[in-house]
């Protein structure tokens, strides 16, 4: 089903006209209200009036995640604080989080786009949506929640954790739609199986999964084990949250970007040059309608490609290929973004540990596991086991507290961390399908 037939099936020519109008309005708004952008545009000698056609987007400066951090917490907001009705934030060590704000209209738009996404995945009013995305500062939980309500579905705001209870509720309430990260879907399946609950016998029909990279083979596994249609959803808090792009259940080939609200580009992440449609590169997004924290050409660091060919589902919006990698060193652990630099900061703050560490990411069963290996130097070494174990649990606790992700800390000997060409290998990601 198409939730918003008018806007999701606009002839591309009309869509582009709408995008241009909105882009012109956006540039005028940020030039007027966001000193950061005014300065950047002035430096380039670009005035809002210079935006005459869509391709003029390349005149605009990029926005990086670091820009949000540099203006922590509210420095890039384009409206006064009283007009912000909601704040979300990505994980980060103190002062390093990226904070986003939404106006009343932003929240309405987000709900509508999430409703579109749920509909594209095959959900409709009357569905029972078991929403196992985390509620809180993370955008996943509340984003899907408002979308499900907008669609007219019944939402079960179960959030993350307490997996056995989730399996029980899923069975007892008879949920028809499951929203969670792909790895959690499989974890939930295993927990339910142990309790004697067979997903295939439940009314569950659709899984909508995102917030972490997954593969086609993982999709097959979820679909076979749970007996459902598994749909990929894309979003990031800087741009909005879940619902920026969604696969349609009909074709399942690429994610439809909500192009009337976001202007996508693919660039060469080295040179910053825009690449022709169809080429693979870094996805860059401009928020066309957002009021709270509108962003010009935000570098997502996600590697994808665009396809503007018409889709059999009837939508005319461009489709982005499933994200296949990152152009930076960000890791996604159980849906949580983790930068090695954040781990480094935590280690340095924990009794002055040396920054000699290594992150080992594995997937045991269906869940990501992160091990942080830290070299023990004379400053922290002790002749007593309890002191070293206390150090390990302190590191684990700090990582959990600051990043919201569970890690296992393992102390190793100096030089115990593999170095290639003198440079320490910081990340070993062994998650493979």
């Amino acid at each position: 089903m198409i939730f918003d037939v008018e806007n999701e099936t606009l002839p591309r020519e009309d869509l582009q006209k709408l995008q241009l109008r909105r882009l012109q309005d956006l540039v005028a708004r940020v030039y007027e209200n966001v000193p950061f952008y005014r300065k950047k545009l002035d430096e380039r000698g670009v005035k809002p009036a210079h935006i005459q056609q869509l391709s003029d987007v390349t005149l605009l400066p990029f926005t990086e995640k670091q820009d949000l951090r540099n203006h922590y917490p509210f420095g890039l907001f384009a409206v006064s604080r009283e007009n912000i009705v909601r704040i979300h934030s990505s994980s980060g060590t103190t002062g390093k989080a990226t904070v986003v704000g939404y106006t009343r209209r932003d929240i309405r738009t987000w709900a509508k786009l999430c409703a579109r996404s749920l509909a594209a995945a095959g959900a409709h009013s009357g569905d029972f949506v078991h929403n196992a995305y985390g509620y809180g500062l993370f955008t996943g939980g509340l984003g899907v929640h408002y979308g499900a309500e907008e669609l007219g579905a019944t939402v079960i705001p179960v959030s993350g954790g307490a997996t056995r209870r989730q399996a029980m509720l899923l069975r007892d309430f008879g949920a028809t739609v499951l929203t969670c990260t792909p790895s959690y879907a499989l974890h939930l399946f295993e927990a339910a199986k142990e309790m004697g609950i067979d997903f295939r016998e439940l009314p569950l029909r659709i899984g909508i999964h995102g917030a972490e990279p997954w593969t086609e083979s993982m999709r097959n596994e979820i679909e076979n084990k749970l007996g459902i249609t598994a749909i990929d959803i894309y979003g990031l808090s800087e741009i909005m949250g879940p619902g920026v792009a969604i696969e349609c259940a009909k074709v399942k080939k690429g994610l439809h970007i909500q192009e009337d609200h976001f202007l996508p580009e693919i660039i060469d992440s080295e040179t910053g040059e825009q690449l022709p449609t169809g080429e693979k590169g870094e996805l860059v997004m401009t928020t066309l309608t957002k009021e709270g924290i509108p962003l010009l050409r935000y570098r997502t660091r996600d590697i994808s490609r665009l396809n503007t060919a018409p889709c059999r589902c009837g939508r005319t919006t461009a489709r982005m290929e499933r994200v296949t990698g990152r152009s930076d060193d960000m890791l996604i652990i159980r849906g949580v973004n983790v930068f090695p630099s954040q781990i480094e900061t935590i280690l340095l703050d924990t009794e002055g540990l040396t920054p000699h560490y290594q992150l080992i990411v594995t997937r045991a069963g269906n869940l990501d596991n992160m091990e942080v290996r830290v070299e023990v130097d004379e400053n922290v070494f002790s002749d007593q086991v309890k002191n070293l174990q206390r150090l390990e649990s302190k590191i684990e606790k700090n990582i959990k507290e600051f990043l919201g992700v569970t890690a296992k800390c393992k102390l190793v000997e100096p030089k115990g961390i593999e170095r290639s060409e003198g440079k320490a290998k910081r990340i070993i990601d062994m998650r493979k399908d």
Binding site: V376, D377, F381, D383, L388, Q389, L411, P414, K415
Partner: protein, 143 residues
């Protein structure tokens, strides 16, 4: 009355202990006493050696993290109740034993036990007052 103990951080994997003994052997350092504390992923090797500084320098050069800890070597009568009497007086004084291990001593009727106390100075004072013999480091290294 204090004794220097060398502590070495070891990853729990094959060959690490042998690497320590290889380095000490090549440096011509004798191990007088040892104990190994272990967890599932690491261990702490504690040694009393014939030459502390030489052992420490060579192990550090070999890439190990090492530390110096002050321990106390106590002569314990080699008969039933010998150790108990000492532990009893430590308990009464509320001195905690973090860990202890035996010292191999071939020439005397007393056993020597290495103690790591939470309050070393107080423990030494207490033992002295009660007439317990302690072996000074210089003597111990050469025993």
């Amino acid at each position: 009355m204090k004794v220097d103990q060398l502590s070495i951080f070891l990853e729990n994997r094959a060959g690490r202990l042998a690497e320590v003994t290889r380095i000490l052997s090549e440096a011509d350092v004798n191990i007088r006493a040892l104990s190994l504390a272990d967890t599932s992923d690491f261990g702490i090797l504690r040694l009393i050696v014939s030459d502390f500084d030489k052992a420490k320098d060579n192990l550090k050069a070999g890439g190990f993290t090492v530390g110096r800890t002050t321990v106390v070597a106590v002569e314990v009568p080699d008969k039933p109740g010998g150790l108990h009497k000492i532990l009893d007086m430590l308990r009464d004084a509320k001195v905690n034993v973090e860990y202890m291990y035996a010292f191999v001593n071939q020439s005397s009727t007393n056993a020597v036990i290495i103690f790591r106390f939470d309050r070393t100075d107080q423990a030494i004072e207490l033992l002295q007052k009660n007439g317990i013999t302690m072996v000074p480091g210089e003597k111990l290294y050469k025993m």
